[in-house]
């Protein structure tokens, strides 16, 4: 029997007067990669941001419905506690530009109580950078600012920062939309090993069907604020039930 890390029930989101999510129901299996696939403007990023309550940074956003992460009702819990068990990587790489490469990773570990002492921190930072497949490239320049890294390296640094929190769930919002193939492959491999070795639950948003097929264990297809199809990747790709899924996979919408 599949166990679910995230359960979303009848979720509506309004931003100002716009109805963005129109009753989303979705159960995301534990220790697997679930890809949310959909054209731009379908509400994928909004859905992702409701899971860790980052949506609330927008003062115009209103959320109705239920989100449970690992059994915890997200909207009646402390938002900071919720965010501490959920890592997130964004579309635009956003390492803190005023901190060193080392501190970018260390601060996430510190805030979440993963490590405090210097030696512990050094261990966690190295471990997280290795998991993000960045260690070899930065081990001799940990004191440098992240702005000296390439865009793809910066994104892997952001992944390392999220990993250093030791999250149970990892959310990624189009993490490879702005980077090259080499870095995309590295990130995808890193994500697979996070699931296999650490049992992390990953939710990845993308508008690229190829990526969904490459790394997804499950695919949720989103269109106009609703989930139109959900299932294991083979089932969705070989036997799509929804016409929208078929058109998305053929590249007719995106």
């Amino acid at each position: 029997m599949t166990r679910y890390a995230i359960e979303i029930e009848d979720l509506h989101v309004y931003i100002g007067s716009k109805h963005i999510l129109k009753g989303v129901n979705l159960r995301i299996p534990q220790s697997a990669i679930t890809v949310i696939l959909g054209p731009s403007g379908s509400g994928k990023s909004t859905l992702l941001r409701t899971i860790n309550r980052l949506i609330e940074l927008n003062p115009e956003a209103r959320v109705r419905g239920r989100v449970r992460v690992l059994g915890i009702d997200v909207y009646s819990a402390d938002p900071y506690e919720v965010r501490r068990m959920i890592g997130m990587v964004f579309q635009v790489p956003n390492p803190f530009p005023h901190m060193s490469i080392f501190d970018n990773v260390a601060i996430a570990a510190k805030i979440n109580g993963v490590a405090r002492k210097r030696e512990e921190l050094e261990k966690v930072v190295r471990w997280a950078l290795e998991k993000a497949m960045l260690w070899d490239e930065v081990k001799d320049r940990l004191r440098d600012p992240p702005t000296k890294l390439s865009g793809g390296q910066q994104q892997r640094l952001c992944l390392a920062r999220a990993i250093a929190m030791r999250p149970r769930v990892l959310l990624l919002d189009e993490p490879t939309a702005n980077i090259d193939v080499y870095n995309t492959v590295k990130i995808e491999n890193a994500l697979k090993s996070l699931v296999n070795e650490l049992g992390i639950t990953i939710v990845l948003v993308t508008h690229m069907p190829q990526q969904a097929l490459r790394i997804g264990d499950y695919i949720a297809v989103m269109y106009d604020g609703r989930i139109v199809e959900f299932g294991p990747v083979d089932q969705v790709s070989l036997n799509p039930r929804s016409e929208i899924t078929r058109r998305l996979l053929r590249g007719e919408i995106g």
Partner: protein, 282 residues
């Protein structure tokens, strides 16, 4: 046709250049005059003596220096920075990070209003609030009046710099579990650190050069060093104001020297910031 266009273009450039020159000339004239006349005055007694000794009594000969006024200015500036900077940072963070709170909107409106109040009225306000109950003008009263000038000014600068930090970094902070305070202090302030320091320095510089807020509040003598924070102090600006109005040529010369010292203090502060604080590249 093409010749006509060329001529119009030339004429236009010439007019712009002329207007710029007209605009800059007075500033240039003032600065060079201050530099020349000030240097003349300071050279006659020597820099150290000018900075540390007492000015000549009216009607006597010789130059002396601006010791008490300089001491007063240093005390007033330090004290008003101590009062004004923490408040400015707090207000700017409140207004930028919590823009929807009623308090934030009220504070923002109040800050803008204070900016428009003539500084002489701020001096009178502090006179009523502090000088009258204390029965004496004082360094504290002067510093409070200066900080009232500084706070809205610095706050506006800080707001601009804090607001310029891209939202993606705030999101990153919240996503790793930072609290609002954590994001404000460790992320936003960190990224905007050069701007924050610049804003603070602009405020300090503003306080350094103000005269009107001190008229009813500082009340010190040009001839006596300050003895306590609750007693009267002098300032360079008050000294320039007084001495420039006297008929005595030696006092007027001291005023020129004092003006140069003030300009040099400005320059030193801005140069230090320029050299010491590294900008965060995003």
């Amino acid at each position: 046709m093409s010749l006509r266009r060329k001529l119009i273009d030339r004429a236009f450039v010439a007019v712009i250049a002329l207007l710029s020159a007209v605009g800059i000339a007075p500033l240039f004239y003032i600065l060079t005059t201050v530099a020349i006349r000030g240097a003349e005055a300071i050279a006659r007694v020597g820099l150290w003596r000018f900075l540390t000794s007492i000015p000549p009594a009216p009607g006597t000969h010789g130059l002396g220096g601006i010791g008490p006024a300089l001491a007063g200015t240093l005390i007033l500036t330090a004290l008003s920075t101590l009062i004004g900077v923490p408040i400015s940072i707090g207000v700017a963070l409140l207004v930028v990070e919590f823009p929807n709170l009623f308090v934030s909107r009220a504070v923002r409106a109040l800050s803008k209003t204070f900016m428009e109040i003539p500084t002489i009225l701020l001096s009178m306000l502090v006179y009523t609030l502090l000088v009258v109950p204390m029965h004496t003008p004082s360094a504290i009263a002067g510093a409070l009046a200066l900080s009232l000038v500084m706070i809205p000014y610095t706050t506006t600068y800080l707001e601009t710099y804090l607001e310029s930090v891209p939202p993606i970094y705030r999101e990153a902070g919240y996503a790793i579990g930072m609290t609002k305070a954590g994001v404000a202090l460790r992320v936003v302030m960190g990224i905007a650190r050069k701007g924050v320091l610049l804003g603070i320095v602009m405020g300090v510089a503003r306080a350094l050069g103000e005269t009107a807020p001190l008229l009813f509040t500082a009340g010190g003598s040009h001839y006596a060093y300050p003895t306590s924070l609750t007693g009267p102090v002098d300032s360079i600006t008050l000294l320039i104001f007084d001495f420039a109005m006297t008929p005595y040529t030696n006092l007027i010369q001291v005023a020129w020297g004092a003006a140069l010292v003030l300009v040099a203090m400005y320059l030193a502060i801005f140069l230090a910031i320029k050299l010491l604080v590294k900008e965060v590249r995003t």
